[in-house]
Structure formats: structure tokens, C-alpha cells
Symmetry: C2
Subunit: 198 residues, 2 copies
């Protein structure tokens, strides 16, 4: 938990009134249920979310502005849950594991989370990338682990280099276009990490 103050958490900054936060959570849960039932995002419209949550369409628009805004909020919601598992979840992704084990667990978990969220990331309309806050979190986490591993060199840029192959366009090309197994993609990333750390 010592790294906590270093990390720009997605939900540190905005202060919401308790009832606003509850309404927001209820709408995101309704959207989550819709995604679960539809098995995709096509039918998750502002209207459908309003109906599922039992509120007017206007409420959903006031809260998220647009469908892209709703998708971005859903993405932040799932990123927050993932960040929590990095910060305080069980090892080796969470604390209390050696830093190399944590770094490898981070890569595996990030590949899986990114592929799961790829549709959401695209629908959030940010040209295939997550928010800058989400990126800062992973960049600082990797940098922190490289420091613990006593890796020399330009750590901010080395961290970026380790993260670049985990971005949506790269992973989708490998897994969905070229048909590489996720396990192979992870093994190659772990190999890269071991070379950098050696």
C-alpha cells in the first residue's frame, strides 16, 4: 500500500454528492446488466439504459452527455475495479509478491482486461486509447516495479516501451486479425520483460 499516494487514481479527483454517486452507480449497473444480456454493445443505447434503470432518458443524457460519455464512464468503472486489484488485491497482481512476479502478473492481467474492454474503448470514441488518467496509472505502476527491480536507464521511456505492445490496436491485430493465442502474446511480453530486467 506504500505506493498509493504515487498513483493517479481515476476516482480520487471528482467529489460527487452521495445521492448523485448512487444514481450514477445505478445507471452504470443497469448498463452492465444490458451488456451481460446482449453479449455486445450494439443494443446498449441511452434509451435502453434509461428503461433498464427505470428513469427518464433525460436523466441518462444529463449524467453522461452522450453514448460515448456513457461508454467512457463504463470503461472508467471497470478500470477502477482493475486498479483496485493492482493496489490492494491478492498477489501476485497485488502487493506482497516479488516485483518481477508482480510485473508479469500485471502484463497478463492487462492483456486480458484490454481485450475484454476493447469494444468499450472503441465505443468511448477516444481513437482506441483509454483516458490519460488510466494510462498514467499503469505507466507509474510499471515504473515503480522497474525501480524496485533496480533496472537502470530511462525508466519513464522504458515503461512506455513495455506498455506500448499492450495497447488496443496492437493486441487486436495480433489476437483478432492474425489469430495468435493470448497465451503466446503473453509469453512474448514476459520474454521482453525478462530481457529488459536482466
Amino acid at each position: 500500500m506504500t505506493e498509493r499516494p504515487l498513483l493517479p487514481l481515476l476516482h480520487d479527483a471528482p467529489v460527487e454528492r452521495a445521492d448523485a454517486a448512487r444514481n450514477r452507480a445505478a445507471l452504470l449497473e443497469a448498463a452492465g446488466r444490458l451488456i451481460g444480456r446482449c453479449g455486445g454493445l450494439e443494443r446498449v443505447t441511452m434509451e435502453a439504459v434509461a428503461a433498464e434503470a427505470g428513469v427518464g432518458k433525460g436523466t441518462v443524457f444529463r449524467r453522461f452527455d452522450s453514448r460515448e460519455g456513457l461508454m467512457a464512464a463504463l470503461l472508467d468503472h471497470s478500470e477502477s475495479a482493475w486498479q483496485a486489484s493492482v493496489i490492494s488485491g491478492p498477489p501476485p497482481l497485488g502487493p506482497d509478491a516479488p516485483p518481477l512476479d508482480r510485473l508479469l502478473a500485471f502484463g497478463r492481467s492487462r492483456i486480458e482486461a484490454t481485450l475484454l474492454s476493447a469494444d468499450l474503448i472503441r465505443a468511448a470514441g477516444r481513437a482506441g486509447t483509454r483516458s490519460y488518467a488510466a494510462y498514467s496509472f499503469v505507466a507509474m505502476h510499471v515504473r515503480h516495479l522497474l525501480t524496485e527491480l533496480e533496472v537502470g536507464g530511462d525508466l519513464p521511456l522504458l515503461a512506455t516501451a513495455l506498455l506500448a505492445p499492450l495497447e488496443v490496436p496492437v493486441l487486436e491485430q495480433q489476437v483478432r486479425v492474425e489469430g495468435f493465442a493470448v497465451e503466446r502474446v503473453y509469453a512474448a511480453w514476459a520474454d521482453l520483460v525478462r530481457r529488459v530486467v536482466a
Copy 2:
């Protein structure tokens, strides 16, 4: 030149009639002159290119379909020139240099070319990436050099990992948002390459 048959060159496939190719080149040169005069892409419209080349607007639309199509053609044009310097230009980027020197020269040249072309890449409307043919060329070149360097491991994925930090969104974030010097970005990439090759 032994690697030539391996590489998917951008302009190997399409066969154009000589006069069509001449007209196309004249339009691209006219667009190039406009970019040179304006110092940016905003004023490079289909109309302006037609006027500069002394042809009707319809000719430009028939040739490139849309402004995005024109931008993509300009990008292919500059990629082709860059590919030629990799295939048959002077060392160390071209042949007749040791493979590690070639790989490092490739990285430096690619960073510069990508930052120069970034506006064009965005204007070509392909979500910040070059064409798949352009990507295949660099992927196969890096894989070829890693083979010559007798690097073990999953070379297609290692090549992807070395190329991912050279993509537009990563370089623009580092150089244009965070203000890192291009020299620093190159030095970090060279460090990564040396760790992978070691």
C-alpha cells in the same frame, strides 16, 4: 538486396497505366507544393490541389475519392520514398551495414519519419495508424534484422514489441505532450533494442 522478395512493397501490387501514373504523380506533387507553402495541411483541399495542378476538381475526386484518400496517397508516397532508402539507400539505414547498426538507424529514421508524417497519418483517417502494407514492411524488416542478429524467441512478436513504441500516439504523447527531446526518445529505444538483442 537479398531481402527484396520478402518485403511487401507499397507499390508492387497495383499496376497503373503510364499516363495514369503520371497524372497521379502530378497531383501528388501539386499537393506536396501546397503543403510546403502552407506549412500545414489545413489549406490542402481537393479544390486547392486541382487549382495547383491546373486540372478540374472532378479529376482530383476521381483519382482519390476524398480528402482522406488524398492524404492516404500522400502518406503512401512518402512511405515509398522512405522504404526505398531502407532497401537500397546508403548504410547504415540501407544494406551493407552490420544488422545492429541497421536496426538502430531504422529506429532513428522511423521516429523522425513518423513525427513528420503524424499530421498526414491523422488526416488519412485511419485512427492514427499507417496502412497495413506499410506496417508489414517495417515488421518484416525488423524481423529480418533480428534473425540476422541471431536473436532467439518469438521474433514476430518481439518485432511488434520493438515497433509499438514507434507508433504515432506514443511518439506524439512523448514529444508533443510531455515535451521529451526526440534524441531522448531515440536513446531509450536504442537501449531497449540493445537489451533485446543482448
